[in-house]
């Protein structure tokens, strides 16, 4: 060996584990981010996540958590690597190597590591996402809208993250070699991380901050919108969640440094606690990242059970097996055709009711948004013919539901959902109704509220009013509501499917509209603004099995057996997206926890040897190792799970000021999910513990 380059190469070969660890960490971070971003920006996903909707915001929020987590993890891996290299670099400097010489060598190898790992991660990210998605399609559910297409533009975000990894590695390396004091570098590998005094009140203050941050972050945007009439930028509202981060950090710091155990148990865990205390910053940083990722993963995981339980309970609670409605000018099956189709499928219809409905204009308030320097503000405005409402006569309502109802002329009843709520989309407080053809106007009292999930969003009026207000309405403004029950609902799927297809086939292009499309609103929007945005967002009957069609078609029938059987298919993209996110986040947690524990083994090998020399038994050493490894796993797991579960429950409660039965049951199913994931986490913990013990020869 005659050149410095050869020496460096030889040393690199001897330290391939450390180089490998850094490479794998960078690769893993870029891989996860690329896979996530490819999925998040895929047109397949964007098509079903409404722009500005909660689902898209949730996906984005978890993505931000994943980015923070992967970034911190990469920085941690880089600092670990440089710490390992410090002795070597220090010796070279002490023996007269020039900083410029070392800098170029270190930069060269860091560049190679960063470039190769980022390139590999970025290249394999899309296949990973695609592979997982294909597995879902193969084993879980496959629908016509599930084939995954990627947007090449997504790679710009993956590229930006790769640039961050590359720049971070080079900057850290540059700063590291640039340290002026050689002694610091020589001694860096032997240095413990200093940790400032951590008072015992940090623990409770942390919990308080987490709670305050969660409440502020959730409620302040609503305050801005409702009280100040201002839609603040999302970046601003995110600031109110910052106390959560600070609180989590304090909570974890207190747990690592002080612990929560009572004084008499202090000596029992003194070795494990003191070792963790003096690697405090790294440990707490790692735990914080894990906590955030666990919280994000659960947030994504809870989506399916909450949606599923709510939907299934809703289907079961429906008062009728089959319900659909149609505009009278459409060629949708009437009673005779339905009965004939039922006969074909050997389905026995036990009851059948058809009831007329009329579409009238109703008054109400709407918001006028203005774009200003500080963002968008809104003002409330009143309009006598704001939108349309579907009206049933009281006798029609009685026929459909069997409920006795007696309304006076001028009195109307709004039909809320089974919980008596308007779901944020139906106020049910019309004061003036108008026949849009005769312009006949009635002032009405809408104080009476009814409850029915299937008829949600409609009004009921006095029979005489109904007859009077129906005058002159064309078929396009008259509709029919059909309710019928069958003998064996669960066994009538094929009939339900055939009837659904017949309803769709019989509907014309004029009703291929979204649920939010409204003929009255359309009229005044076009008159005042020249266009109506829902006209541009039409549905396609050939995509009748897509989630967009099933969830948002204005005339979507409510067939219990069809809705239940097709639930997973209808919501497949949503569910699989959130399952994918959960898998990505949990995988990151497992890798970070494993890496952190193996680092503990590498860093503390000497300490364990010394403890052995002091007479510590294998059992004592094992207990000490277990104390550290279990803390790396349990503290973030308990904190992350507890925080997100409480936060989720808070959101559910805050939606309508109570927990409904379906929400309560959904939260119960989430607990079962937590149990299952905790078992998996426990398995990874046992595997890691075994590996760490093997590395320490315990």
């Amino acid at each position: 060996m005659k050149s410095f380059q050869e020496v460096y190469t030889l040393l690199r070969r001897k330290s391939r584990k450390q180089y490998g660890l850094l490479w794998v960490c960078c690769f893993f971070s870029v891989l996860l981010i690329t896979a996530y971003v490819c999925m998040m920006r895929a047109p397949t996903i964007l098509n079903v996540l409404p722009e500005g909707g909660d689902s898209r915001k949730q996906v984005m929020m978890i993505f931000m958590l994943a980015v923070i987590g992967c970034a911190v993890f990469t920085l941690y891996a880089a600092s670990l690597f440089l710490r390992y290299k410090s002795r070597e670099i220090g010796i070279f400097l002490a023996l007269g190597a020039k900083r410029s010489q070392l800098k170029s060598l270190l930069m060269g190898e860091l560049s190679a590591i960063a470039l190769s790992s980022c390139a590999a991660g970025a290249l394999l990210g899309a296949p990973l996402a695609l592979g997982l998605w294909q597995l879902f399609r193969l084993w879980v559910v496959d629908t016509e809208e599930m084939p995954l297409r990627f947007d090449p533009a997504a790679y710009s975000i993956a590229l930006a993250f790769s640039v961050f990894v590359f720049a971070a590695l080079l900057l850290m390396g540059r700063r590291f070699v640039g340290k002026t004091n050689i002694l610091d570098i020589v001694q860096a590998s032997r240095k413990s991380e200093p940790i400032h005094t951590v008072h015992r009140w940090y623990g409770w203050a942390g919990i308080l901050l987490v709670a305050v941050g969660a409440v502020l972050g959730y409620s302040v945007p609503s305050f801005f919108i409702l009280s100040l009439h201002w839609y603040p930028p999302e970046g601003l509202t995110a600031i109110f969640y910052l106390p959560v981060l600070l609180g989590l950090y304090m909570l974890l710091l207190h747990t690592v440094v002080n612990g929560w155990s009572r004084k008499k148990r202090r000596y029992q865990n003194i070795v494990a606690t003191s070792m963790m205390k003096f690697q405090g910053r790294q440990t707490v940083n790692n735990m914080l990242v894990m906590t955030l990722l666990i919280a994000g993963a659960y947030f994504a995981s809870f989506y399916t059970p909450m949606l599923g339980v709510g939907a299934m309970m809703g289907y079961d609670a429906r008062p009728v097996d089959y319900a659909y409605f149609y505009r009278d000018d459409q060629d949708v099956p009437r009673e005779a055709e339905v009965r004939q189709l039922a006969e074909e499928y050997k389905v026995n219809i036990t009851s059948y009711v058809e009831v007329p409905m009329i579409r009238l204009a109703v008054d109400g308030t709407y918001s006028i948004e203005t774009e200003g320097k500080l963002g968008v503000t809104w003002q409330e405005a009143y309009r006598e013919q704001l939108e349309s409402g579907l009206f049933l006569s009281e006798s029609g309502y009685r026929l459909l539901t069997g409920e006795e109802i007696d309304l006076e002329p001028g009195q109307i009843a709004a039909i809320m959902d089974a919980e008596g709520q308007g779901r944020g989309i139906f106020a049910g407080n019309a004061g003036i109704v108008t026949n849009t053809f005769t312009e006949e106007k009635r002032t009405v009292n809408s104080d009476t509220k009814l409850r029915n999930d299937v008829l949600f969003g409609r009004y009921v009026c006095d029979d005489e009013d109904f007859a009077a207000l129906s005058d002159g309405l064309t078929e396009a403004w008259r509709e029919t509501m059909v309710f019928f029950n069958v003998e064996d609902c669960a066994g009538s799927y094929d009939f339900a499917k055939a009837l659904f297809n017949r309803v769709v086939d019989g509907s014309g292009p004029e009703v291929a509209v979204l649920d939010a499309w409204d003929p009255v609103t359309r009229e005044w929007r076009i008159a005042e603004e020249g266009s109506y945005w829902y006209d541009d967002d039409l549905l396609h009957y050939e995509q009748r099995n897509s989630s967009e069609f099933r969830l948002y078609w204005k005339y979507m029938p409510q067939f219990q057996v069809l809705d239940k059987a097709d639930f997973v298919k209808t919501t497949a993209v949503f569910i699989m997206l959130f399952v994918f996110i959960a898998i990505v986040c949990f995988a990151a947690v497992f890798v970070i926890a494993y890496t952190r524990c193996m680092t503990i083994a590498l860093n503390n090998r000497q300490v364990y040897e010394d403890l052995g020399k002091l007479g510590a038994s294998r059992a004592y050493l094992y207990a000490s190792v277990r104390g550290q490894v279990s803390r790396v796993f349990t503290v973030p797991a308990i904190t992350g799970t507890g925080v997100i579960y409480a936060f989720y429950a808070m959101i559910m409660y805050a939606n309508d000021g109570r927990l409904t039965l379906s929400e309560f049951c959904g939260m119960g199913v989430c607990l079962l999910l937590i149990l299952a994931v905790s078992l998996l986490l426990y398995a990874v913990y046992r595997l890691t513990l075994r590996r760490v013990c093997r590395a320490l020869d315990i």
Partner: protein, 247 residues
């Protein structure tokens, strides 16, 4: 060879400033084996680190072979460390991934001058220090004494003007310590090496030509061995240490 004049160095710990060197002055001639002794906190290691150019002094001057070290830039200081100084550390600081022979050659490799002559010199150093048989072994496979003798050989490979040793026997048993001190003596006698050693160990210091005793950041006494027997010189050192303790 080495001239230190009125050297000052202080450390900042929080808001407090601790002056560790308070005007140290000393001179070392070529071929001398000099030890610096003193109680903990007297400034021995700080003095060595300043001379090694590891930390900058606050005031005063350090001249090595007529060159003022403070006037040199980073690249020039690196060249001085590589060619004109040789280092021996308490915990050896050998690279675990290199064999004993490669570790010895490392300063020459860093300096970019591994000639056949250098390789012959490495062979000779191995022979002189009795580590010829372990040339192909890695640091993890040899004893503490062998590691330190490897470090001494490494310090000499570039034929430096001076060897700087920081507690070279601090981590060794008495047999290994003796072997390391013998290797310093051999370096002085056979290669005319100049050695500047910081030590707590009066036994190790008793082999030196001169011992400088520091106290509270100043030179308290400088003792020449002269023609004394080693044991007599050790007694003198111990007496001086006792006397310093009484003051």
């Amino acid at each position: 060879m080495l001239k230190v004049n009125d050297l000052h160095k202080s450390y900042q710990v929080g808001k407090a400033t601790y002056e560790v060197l308070k005007g140290v002055s000393l001179e070392i001639e070529k071929g001398q084996f000099v030890a610096v002794m003193g109680p903990s906190g007297s400034g021995k290691t700080t003095l060595l680190n300043c001379i090694s150019c590891y930390i900058p002094a606050d005031a005063g001057s350090i001249c090595l072979d007529g060159r003022e070290l403070a006037a040199l830039n980073g690249e020039e200081l690196a060249a001085v460390r590589n060619r004109e100084l040789g280092f021996v550390f308490q915990d050896f600081l050998l690279l675990d991934g290199l064999t004993v022979r490669d570790n010895i050659l490392l300063p020459a490799i860093i300096g970019g001058s591994v000639s056949q002559e250098t390789e012959r010199r490495a062979e000779r150093l191995c022979r002189v220090f009795g580590i010829e048989h372990i040339q192909g072994k890695f640091p993890a496979e040899i004893s503490g004494g062998e590691k330190q003798r490897t470090a001494v050989a490494r310090a000499l490979i570039n034929q430096p003007l001076m060897i700087l040793a920081d507690e070279p026997t601090g981590n060794l048993d008495s047999k290994s310590s003796r072997a390391v001190i013998d290797s310093f003596c051999q370096a002085r006698d056979q290669m005319a090496a100049t050695i500047f050693m910081v030590t707590h160990d009066s036994f190790a210091a008793s082999f030196c030509d001169r011992v400088i005793i520091l106290r509270d950041g100043q030179v308290w006494r400088s003792l020449e061995r002269g023609g004394r027997e080693r044991l007599d010189f050790q007694d003198l050192l111990l007496d001086s240490v006792r006397e310093m303790g009484r003051e």
